[in-house]
């Protein structure tokens, strides 16, 4: 903290910056980071790489194998697979990000409340998370889709809710260990309100542990989103999205491998890049490399 080697950096930022430096020095995080930047850039700057329309059909060039004109081939109604791949990435990445944001916001709020106030509030919230935890993996998301009906927004909500229990539990346990700290007692004695203590003192100190779950969670969230889309419960045709493209390409798996290969590769690379970064984050935070969760 009192290192005089970096006098230009304000002290409150120092731990965060040190963490970031440590992550950036990690070889696999560098690789993951570059991969992720490339993927995000390719999908958001799609018009730079292709002048075609992702939804324009051209039956005369249906099911063309990859060529110079169509780098990833064409689908059964002659849409350019490369263009759809680029545009599809936007949606897949966004579903992942939205899912984890919803899950983190609700889960962290519940965890803070539950851990800080204790008593019957804690008992009820904990019981509720135990119940949610009892739904394996994608089943909770499926149950939520069953209620809300299929669709891309509902898929984001479903994935978000499925993440609530893990965030709630981690935040709660972190709050429980912080609650008894002297500086929290001091803040209380000084007359700080509960809300102020939670947001100003407890949350910032829980961030390090939560950071691991958030990074690795983005990967899981992209996977879960693609899975729902693959099952046909998310994006509706003709929307380009990697999972949905895979689903559509399944029918032509014997004639046109390119229709399933490339969208799947996109999902794989996106999740891989995030997992590599996540591993480095967890290394930096705790000194372990075990990915504790697989969604």
């Amino acid at each position: 903290m009192t290192s005089n080697l970096t006098p230009s950096i304000s002290r409150s930022n120092a731990p965060g910056i040190r963490l970031l430096r440590q992550i950036l020095r990690n070889r696999s995080a560098q690789f993951g980071g570059i991969l992720l930047i490339l993927l995000v850039f390719a999908s958001y700057a799609a018009p730079l790489f292709t002048d075609k329309d992702p939804n324009k059909t051209a039956p005369s060039v249906a099911l063309q194998p990859p060529s110079l004109e169509y780098p990833m081939g064409t689908d059964n109604i002659g849409r350019d697979n490369f263009t759809r791949f680029l545009y599809g990435g936007r949606l897949s990445l966004r579903v992942g990000l939205a899912g984890i944001t919803i899950g983190a916001l609700i889960g962290i709020t519940l965890g803070l409340t539950s851990g800080y106030f204790g008593g019957w509030v804690d008992a009820i919230i904990s019981w509720f998370t135990d119940v949610l935890m009892a739904f394996p993996d994608i089943l909770l998301a499926l149950a939520i889709i069953a209620i809300l009906g299929p669709g891309i927004t509902n898929a984001m909500l479903a994935i978000g809710f499925a993440f609530v229990p893990s965030f709630m539990r981690l935040t709660r346990s972190s709050v429980l260990s912080l609650r008894e700290m002297t500086y929290i007692e001091a803040a209380k004695a000084l007359g700080s309100s509960d809300a102020r203590i939670l947001v100003k003192h407890i949350l910032p100190n829980s961030i390090r542990t939560l950071l691991v779950l958030i990074t690795l969670g983005i990967g899981s969230s992209i996977l879960a989103g693609a899975a729902l889309n693959f099952l046909g419960l998310g994006a509706e045709p003709p929307t380009a999205e990697w999972g949905a493209m895979l689903n559509a390409g399944m029918k032509f798996v014997r004639q046109a491998w390119w229709l399933t290969f490339f969208p799947g590769l996109g999902i794989f690379l996106a999740v891989l890049s995030i997992n590599l970064i996540g591993d480095a984050v967890s290394d930096a935070v705790a000194g372990t490399t075990i990915l504790s969760e697989k969604k």
């Binding site: 696999s28 019981w127 509720f128 135990d130 119940v131 009892a134 739904f135 394996p136 993996d137 994608i138 089943l139 499926l142 149950a143 889709i145 069953a146 209620i147 809300l148 009906g149 299929p150 990967g219 996977l223 693609a226 899975a227 693959f230 099952l231 046909g232 419960l233 999972g243 895979l246 399944m250 798996v253 014997r254 491998w257 399933t260 290969f261 799947g264 590769l265 999902i267 794989f268 999740v271 891989l272 995030i274 997992n275 590599l276 591993d279 075990i290 990915l291 697989k294």
Partner: protein
């Protein structure tokens, strides 16, 4: 031990109770009128709506409905499908063996491949073998199940024509591709666990003692290290079953296999709420049961847990 057993069972019952409430409320949480969602664009007459409301028991107060749902469920009656009029419990009982066969064979794949790779990585710690296994493992964690399945289909079924891409039975050939699809990503998790656990054990004093006694390396590894290293992995099996039951949804849909996962997805499309409720309830209950048994077994094996 007795106290621990009672406490653990009590928690499980509370959770099962919560699951039943959540599953029950599915039909009431549907935005708008659930009968409209079910009947959709059909020409709806007043009588038809009234008939459906009667069939679903929607006219009674909520607590009466829930009491009836819980009572029936405890007797094994989960209602009737809105689409086929078939009993939900019977449909699930028909589909369950197929999912079970899939999950079990995937578990065998995950544990055997994962354990071998994990042990190799730990024994060759810091060499290229270790790096390769860890690389495979992080790839396995990042690969979408359905893409893995597609790659396997493209290779084994389209190119080599060895195994069918649509498979409904429980024979080796039928289960081979689905089990690999479901099991390989999980093998990645197992490999990481085995490696970490083995590395931990290899640094323990009793291993040093065993070596100091002049025991052969093979004996040290097989008799002392491996046994202890595999304990945490075995207790992890319960959690893995959950992943496998969930993942079965995708694998069954992809290989057009029978099973409760595919039943769930189809019922969502058909807006067959009683069927969706039934499948979700049964799967969650199985999961709770497995977890409870795992915890209790662990309590027997490890006294520290009991006292918590």
């Amino acid at each position: 031990m007795f106290n621990y057993l009672i406490r653990r069972l009590f928690t499980s019952i509370l959770v099962l109770f919560g699951i039943s409430m959540l599953v029950f409320s599915v039909i009431h949480l549907v935005p708008g009128d659930v009968t409209m969602a079910i009947l959709g664009r059909q020409k709806v007459t007043e009588e038809k709506v009234a008939e459906l409301r009667e069939q679903l028991g929607l006219n009674d107060p909520l607590y009466v409905q829930y009491g009836r749902y819980l009572g029936n469920a405890l007797r094994g009656d989960l209602g009737k499908s809105i689409r086929t009029n078939q009993s939900v419990s019977e449909s699930i009982a028909e589909q369950l063996p197929s999912t079970f066969a899939l999950a079990m064979s995937a578990l065998v794949v995950a544990l055997s491949i994962g354990a071998i790779l994990g042990l190799l990585a730990a024994l060759r710690h810091g060499t290229w073998v270790d790096t390769l296994v860890m690389g495979l493992s992080v790839s396995g964690l990042s690969i979408p199940t359905f893409w893995m399945g597609l790659l396997l289909i493209l290779f084994f079924s389209v190119k080599l024509k060895l195994f069918p891409s649509i498979s409904n039975g429980s024979s080796f050939a039928d289960l081979f591709l689905p089990a690999l699809t479901l099991g390989l990503p999980e093998a990645a998790v197992v490999a990481r666990m085995v490696r970490a656990s083995m590395l931990d054990v290899l640094n323990k004093e009793y291993i040093i003692t065993a070596r100091a006694k002049g025991l052969g390396e093979r004996m040290v590894i097989l008799k002392h290290a491996m046994r202890n290293a595999l304990i945490p992995v075995v207790t992890f099996v319960g959690l893995q079953m959950a992943y496998l039951l969930g993942g079965a949804t995708i694998v069954e849909t992809m290989f057009a296999r029978q099973g409760i996962g595919r039943l769930a997805v189809q019922s969502i499309f058909n807006r067959d709420y009683p069927m969706v409720q039934g499948v979700v309830l049964v799967t969650a209950a199985i999961y709770v049961l497995i977890n409870t048994l795992t915890d209790i077994t662990y309590g027997f094996l490890n006294p520290k847990i009991r006292l918590k």
